[in-house]
Symmetry: C2
Subunit: 178 residues, 2 copies
């Protein structure tokens, strides 16, 4: 077991990384990331997530054409497209939450292993094109593309969050936590 | 930094815990869990999650009446209701994913600190009643209730996941990962 709050420190120190070294990501590391993804919780344990791992530069180039963050996609040696499989869906909201949980697991695993990553959502504006490029059947719904790699120097930007007191109530809404 | 794959081991060893000891959860532990929650990523960093921490037994009893998993709620000394704040929403799907990420962060933090937890989604069937009990304004949307506490002996049930090969394609959908 880790020291008590070490997991929280990993969670807290993770930031979106948008610039990467050219170094490829080893298969064994990718499998640890996928392993983290597949152990997310889901309603009725339906595991609605599906992954496409993209390292091919030609395919990555096509995907770069689907987002205004193309420079991130060109920089990243590894992409993981995450889909919701509507064939196993039981509740769209809960299944979308589960996809959020699997993505977060992968981001944390990447960070914990020294990689950087960023969750790309803007690419959903061109989801049909992404589906075509990746040969995804109509039963799938694109949830996000995660770009990963070893972080370039200086790629760790600051980021802020609201204080706990600004988002948390005690017992009933509106009653301050502290 | 942790050993390379320790974060993955934390992720992999987490299970839903549905029976708890009566021991209360200290404020400092709750704050670590909330800290983990607030550091989730969100689109445009809009942080759409809102939390209500419930320990009051009377309120917990009312919430127990909103789900067929009332025994879990009675057993748990701590509940965290998670809401999406529609006032800061920018894209419902992405914001629901972000709520999934914040819930997963809290589940992992709890597990990493020796607590057990379970993500309750079935209670969404009675979301209006939950909103009333917790005085939640109509601008909020209930995402889940997380039940937490120190795990009772024998509460760690087995759970399975599909193999990586069953959920992952290489380069394009349908092309096996391995």
């Amino acid at each position: 077991m880790m020291e008590k709050t070490q997991i929280v420190e990993i969670i807290r120190s993770r930031r979106s990384i948008r610039e990467f070294l050219a170094d490829p990501v080893e298969d064994s590391i990718i499998e640890e990331i996928l392993e983290a993804g597949r152990w997310a919780p889901s309603g009725l344990n339906n595991q609605p997530w599906r992954f496409v791992v993209v390292r091919d530069r030609e395919i990555a180039g096509l995907l770069a054409g689907c987002t205004r963050y193309s420079s991130i996609i060109y920089s990243a040696p590894l992409l993981i497209a995450v889909f919701l499989d509507r064939d196993v869906m039981y509740d769209h909201t809960k299944d979308v939450q589960a996809c959020g949980a699997t993505i977060q697991n992968m981001l944390l695993a990447a960070h914990g292993m020294g990689l950087g990553a960023v969750w790309l959502g803007e690419i959903l504006n061109q989801k049909d094109e992404v589906m075509d490029i990746l040969n995804a059947p109509g039963s799938l719904e694109l949830m996000a593309v995660v770009a990963l790699g070893y972080p370039a120097a200086g790629s760790n930007r600051s980021s802020e969050r609201r204080d706990i007191s600004g988002i948390t109530s005690k017992e009933r809404f509106g009653n301050p936590w502290k």
